[in-house]
Amino acid sequence: MRNVAQTGRKELEAHRQLVTGVTASVPRYEVVDLDGNKEWVVDVYIGPLEHVEENVIFSVLIAPYARELVSDIGQPVLLERSKQGKYSVIGRTKNQTSGVVFEGGDVEEPTFWIVRDNFASLRLRWLPDLDWVLEELQDDEDAPLQADPDEPLQQVRAFDAFGLQVVGPEATEPEDFPPGSLPAPPGGGSGYSPSAAKGGLYSPIPIETSTSKHVASFPSKFGPKGDPDAMDWGVSELQPMILKVIIE
């Protein structure tokens, strides 16, 4: 067998992963184990995840050769994720991860967005297996074309494979249509369910919603009292750091 150390190092490097992030706190000297040993640590934001609030790794140890480089909040840093899954800050980087802001919580230049499309917006309305039903224009020649100027001339309804209505006013405004007030859907079924409408997922109208999400970390303000971004005089430490998610 060749040099064991060389092989081991190569294997470690193969599992080593470099991750970029941004410091979400100033480095601090704190206890890192039950024996009371202390080391320099820092909190690091590692990038946006939709369903994770802040996505911050807390109390990441700073490698000694990186200690002088990592000195403040809001600095882009390089983390190493070892084979054992341990993170440590090993240096600085010139890449700033998206979704972070540090100027008092004001998002001047958004860098991360979440966009949700329905099938109509993607022109893929046919993907789900639905029965589309187009209302008759008029029941008879004497029937008015529209009962209300805000109504469409022809209502479009859709039912899923189980017969649940997923598109149409009955699906989205069920309080106007008590159960039993409508004829049974084609192919049978239990009627309508607002949960099946799923935020307009199946609507024939293209719907695209966009929000930006950023993590802000900044020293709390001095006041006014009661402001969520202000410190609690006499209770908290002086100007503790605030970490919060800003969705706009």
Partner: protein
């Protein structure tokens, strides 16, 4: 799609039910001919026709670079008969590794010269050779050839820098990505101008410096074309083209005759787990400023010269003069007495500290002159005292002695004052405070997904392309990628009569309005076989839903 002249016989035949299919296989000696010559049309030497040896051609046209890291190759596999009864013998060297081959398809009713090439490539490996046995006379050879993309699968590329120059006349503030792709193909893949059919794409990069580093050639081209909604591919002649990968592009063929040409259309069963969310990451071309809070940059003890009227010094924010800072200001820790200090920021690296000490200097000069004059007076009085003592003028000597003593006391006091003024009064301590900053590459990213997903329902795929540098492009490309992910399980196999026009990445539309995006084209050509091709497709449009939309009158402002 391939270029067939509309209105031509060949195009008409491709859309008809009556076929007399023919094919031709030509080979060239790689020691004499380069595939470049075939691609750019400069080859005058005709190929060697081995068609009469070929009993079957299995053709497989795959979509190269569906995802940027999975280049799949177009290939043909020839089954050859060694002795087709004409007294000819096929040497293995004619179909062995490196030999250039071209497949042409046409119809018996069309001149051979007008048949179209459907594949140009190179044989790889050693051909299989079955000499047959007395019991089994199915002797023959098999050889496989791959398209031109096979040559560049492992070729690594590091380009030069493609730079913008805002200060030039006229200013260069963007570079078209098609220009970069063409440059890569020309300089790093050895393709000539006539082999590269990639022009300006109308999509530009706005980064000051653009470079592809240690990337496979085809992947480098893909990264350049991905923001344009295209991907690189070698066509049937071996020319490099940019193929439009838009799922909703115009169909290359529309079947309107009750699908007689369509033999079979089957939804393929599959267990493809479709991704319902994509993350696309780009990089803004405007660097982000990482601004640190106000902090001490330099701590400066100052000692002014004894008789300096002012103190001026350039102060840098770091020892190596490279630290940038803004909003710098001066803080005085210990002020030099009778002096005023001012700070002026010169640039982002340094500023100038000016301390006006003329009052202090004047005070020192006055004290110094006073001390000096006292010393001179002491010297003179001592001299006079000595003279008077020699003349034994006792009264005068006593007076002079008193004066001398007074002068010495004054001198000592002024000396002390001078020393104090020089050592203590001229010292100060100042600090320069400011906000250090640096410019970094800012990542921009968008997570695009279908509405109504619960966290545990998200199946996500991540893409990255640093040429995408603004929000609008990011959103648009992410939408296209999401569409593409969602249709990946809508696999259909369609068998139709062989159509020379169709190739992978084309869209075809059936008579009922359904549209299909072709992923793979497979066909088997032989003298007596069925002239059909099998298309593996994604369904991208449903004709029935179009009919519902067409029948609906949804406007509330209908003309009555």
């Amino acid at each position: 799609m391939r270029s067939i002249l509309p209105g031509s016989w060949l195009n008409a035949i491709a859309g008809s039910l009556t076929r007399h299919p023919r094919f031709q296989v030509l080979i060239w000696n790689p020691n004499e001919v380069l595939v470049n010559q075939i691609a750019d049309g400069t080859l005058n030497r005709p190929g060697i026709d081995i068609t009469h040896f070929v009993t079957n051609v299995d053709y497989n046209d795959n979509n190269g670079f569906e995802n940027g890291d999975d280049p799949s190759l177009t290939s043909i596999t020839l089954t050859l008969n060694r002795n087709p009864g004409r007294g000819l013998n096929l040497r293995r060297g004619l179909v062995e590794d490196g030999v250039i081959v071209q497949l042409r398809e046409g119809d018996a009713r069309i001149r051979v010269e007008d048949w179209i090439p459907t594949f140009t490539g190179t044989f790889r490996g050693r051909p299989g050779d079955d000499p047959g046995t007395p019991a089994n006379r199915s002797e023959g050879m098999t050889a496989t050839a791959y398209g031109r993309e096979e040559r560049y699968q492992n070729r690594m590329v590091t380009t030069g820098a493609y730079r913008l120059d805002p200060d030039a006349d006229p200013p260069v503030t963007s570079i078209d990505l098609g220009e970069i792709a063409a440059s890569i193909a020309n300089k790093h893949m050895g393709l000539g101008q006539n082999e590269i059919l990639i022009g300006n794409q109308g999509v530009v990069t706005r980064h000051i410096t653009n470079q592809i580093v240690e990337t496979r050639a085809l992947e480098a081209l893909y990264q350049c074309l991905m923001p344009c909604g295209k991907k690189p591919k070698f066509d049937a002649l071996g020319r490099l083209v940019a193929v439009d990968v838009n799922l909703f592009k115009a169909p290359a063929r529309i079947f309107t005759n009750r699908d007689y040409l369509v033999k079979r259309k089957v939804a393929s069963p599959n267990d493809v787990e479709v991704n319902n969310s994509v993350v696309l990451k780009g990089q803004s071309h405007i660097k982000a400023k990482v601004l640190q809070p106000d902090q001490m940059l330099v701590d400066l003890p100052v000692v002014t010269g004894f008789f300096d009227f002012e103190y001026e010094e350039d102060i840098y924010y770091s020892n190596d003069h490279s630290q940038k800072a803004e909003e710098t200001h001066l803080r005085t820790k210990h002020k030099i007495i009778w002096a005023s200090a001012e700070w002026e920021q010169i640039d982002e690296f340094h500023g100038e500290l000016s301390i006006d000490t003329h009052y202090l200097a004047a005070a020192r000069i006055i004290i110094f002159i006073l001390w000096l004059s006292n010393e001179i007076a002491i010297a003179v009085l001592t001299y006079i005292n000595d003279i008077l003592a020699s003349l034994v003028e006792v009264e005068a000597v006593a007076v002079i002695s008193v004066l001398l003593t007074i002068a010495k006391i004054i001198a000592l006091v002024t000396l002390a004052a001078l020393l104090w003024a020089m050592q203590f009064v001229g010292r100060g301590r100042y600090q320069i405070w400011g906000r250090p900053y640096e410019w970094v590459y800012p990542e921009i990213s968008v997570q695009r997904q279908i509405a109504g997903l619960l966290p545990e329902e998200v199946r996500e795929r991540e893409f990255r392309n640093d040429f995408i540098s603004d929000k609008d492009s990011l959103f648009a490309r992410a939408k296209e990628l999401l569409r593409r992910e969602l249709v990946k399980d809508q696999l259909f196999e369609i068998e139709i009569m062989n159509d020379f026009l169709l190739e992978s990445d084309d869209v075809l539309e059936t008579a009922n309005g359904d549209r299909f995006y072709i992923l793979t084209v497979r066909k088997s050509l032989s003298a007596r076989g069925e002239n059909v091709m099998t298309l593996v497709c994604w369904k991208v449009q449903d004709g029935a839903l179009l009919a519902v939309d067409a029948g609906a009158i949804v406007s509330t402002e209908a003309d009555l």
